[in-house]
């Protein structure tokens, strides 16, 4: 006598149910990364003035480090009272989550949230900070 049938059940549960989960959960779903839009009124206006669409810092940096940048911004304001940020291009920005980031990215639902939902990130910032009215072009 041996326990073969119990082991077969265990393997079925272990591998098919648990480890196979990501495979069959995604069956038939397309692999689409979020498409981000940069055509809000504020960005278009910035483009008119500067000739191109730019973020506070280069795009590659922003994609990886924007949370760290926001963290530094917050520290600058609430700890050191410093409300002006000079970026790597020498332009200065008023330090504000609501009035700077979300002024350009006034399409939060189609921008910040798109990425964050894709990766199940849920910044707690907006339990205090107000999201300005969505503006899209």
């Amino acid at each position: 006598m041996n326990n073969a049938w119990k082991i077969v059940i265990g393997v079925v549960i272990g591998f098919v149910a648990v480890f196979g989960f990501p495979f069959y959960y995604n069956l038939g779903k397309a692999n689409v990364a979020p498409k981000l839009k940069y055509d809000t009124p504020a960005i278009l206006e910035y483009e008119k003035e500067h000739g191109k669409k730019e973020c506070v810092e280069p795009k590659e940096f922003m994609a990886k480090e924007h949370m760290q940048l926001l963290n530094t911004w917050r520290d600058e304001v609430v700890r050191y009272g410093q409300r002006i940020y000079v970026n790597s291009r020498g332009e200065s920005f008023h330090i504000s989550l609501q009035n700077t980031c979300l002024n350009c990215h006034s399409n939060k639902k189609e921008f910040c949230d798109k990425c964050h939902n894709y990766l199940a990130v849920n910044p707690y910032c907006f339990s205090c900070h107000i999201v300005p009215k969505e503006k899209q072009s």
């Binding site: 265990g10 393997v11 591998f15 989960f21 990501p22 990364a33 990886k64 480090e65």
Partner: protein, 329 residues
């Protein structure tokens, strides 16, 4: 040497991935991970089915509690010495989830002279729990990279893990606990002479490998950040069997992925198989019902026996002559 070989093996793996990923993203981002998963799944199933074919021994009642008795006033310890399948299930669950056997770990000390003492030693239990649980939580958390729409339970896990709200991106508690616990388990092997004596390269290698995986992960999240959206694209490509290599992912990610692939491929060949093996430990998965149920040796083959009746049939007349009593006239 027993430590240096696995140490340099892990370093070599990292270097291979850092250099190799530059040469071929597809090899390190697609083919090696696929191969590793195949080895993991089929190796694991092969190992477990092989174990499953071996005969189950007689019930082993090496337990830590009172067995079920015919006398009603003797109280049975139902969890430590179960006599029913339900009790076995309870004991197994507690073993897997709470490591009760490690809780009984003792340390032996020889005092000057010949005085030998046994004391309780809970740090292995604590370290093991911290390590395995944080590993599990980290594994579950990673499912946010494995699913197109992340289900709510996984978001809850992530939320709880980051509830200290330190820094940005938020610090995960399990990242700290995992690295701490692996370091502790490693130092334990190095610093305790008895443990060091019985430790082999195969004991150090998984610890160092997992430390490498944790360290590259922590580096990617907090220090040398990678574009997480592209990383998810790559992973989802693998899972939907339409692999893609997005631009701009640094070699650090490929090093992480290569170490994980190594772990997966190494898994069925090593002591890490205790993940499946724990369910097959005879002292944990058998009810102690030796006296209630007759256990017939499963590999008994039919033996021809000569019964007393047959013996009497053969010798009845001679027995009567000799005055011996017979059962049948």
């Amino acid at each position: 040497m027993k430590i240096l070989i696995p140490f340099f093996a892990v370093i070599a793996l990292v270097v291979i991935a850092l250099v190799g990923a530059q040469a071929s993203h597809a090899l390190f981002g697609i083919w090696i991970p696929y191969a590793a998963v195949l080895i993991f799944v089929f190796g694991f199933i092969f190992k477990v089915l092989k174990w499953g074919r071996s005969p189950v021994p007689f019930r082993i009642p090496t337990t830590a509690g009172q067995m079920k008795s015919f006398a009603p006033w003797i109280k049975q310890n139902k969890l430590d010495n179960p006599s029913s399948s339900l009790g076995v299930l309870g004991r197994m669950l507690l073993e897997v989830l709470a490591f009760r056997s490690l809780f009984r770990n003792t340390k032996t000390q020889l005092y000057p002279g010949t005085k030998l003492t046994y004391g309780s030693e809970k740090f292995l239990w604590l370290g093991g729990l911290a390590f395995h649980w944080s590993f599990l939580i980290i594994f579950v958390r990673h499912f946010r990279f494995f699913m197109q729409d992340v289900p709510y339970p996984i978001q809850i896990v992530e939320h709880l893990d980051s509830f200290l709200q330190i820094g940005a991106p938020l610090l995960y508690i399990t990242d700290v606990v995992l690295l701490g616990a692996v370091t502790f388990l490693f130092l334990r092997r190095v610093m305790m002479p008895q443990i060091k004596y019985i430790s082999l390269p195969a004991d150090y290698f998984p610890l160092l490998l997992i430390f490498g995986i944790g360290a590259t992960g922590v580096l990617m999240r907090y220090f040398a950040k990678v574009p997480v959206v592209s990383v998810k694209e790559l992973v989802m490509g693998l899972l939907t069997f339409s692999p893609v290599i997005p631009q701009g992912i640094s070699s650090l990610f490929y090093a992480h992925l290569f170490l994980v692939s190594t772990l997966l491929a190494y898994f069925p060949l090593s002591k890490l198989m205790h993940m499946g093996g724990v369910f097959l430990s005879p002292t944990r998965n058998m009810a102690n019902n030796n006296r209630e149920v007759r256990h017939i040796n499963p590999w008994n083959y039919p033996v021809h026996v000569h019964t007393y009746e047959e013996y009497e049939d053969d010798f009845r007349e001679k027995m009567k002559k000799a005055g011996l009593p017979v059962e049948k006239e």
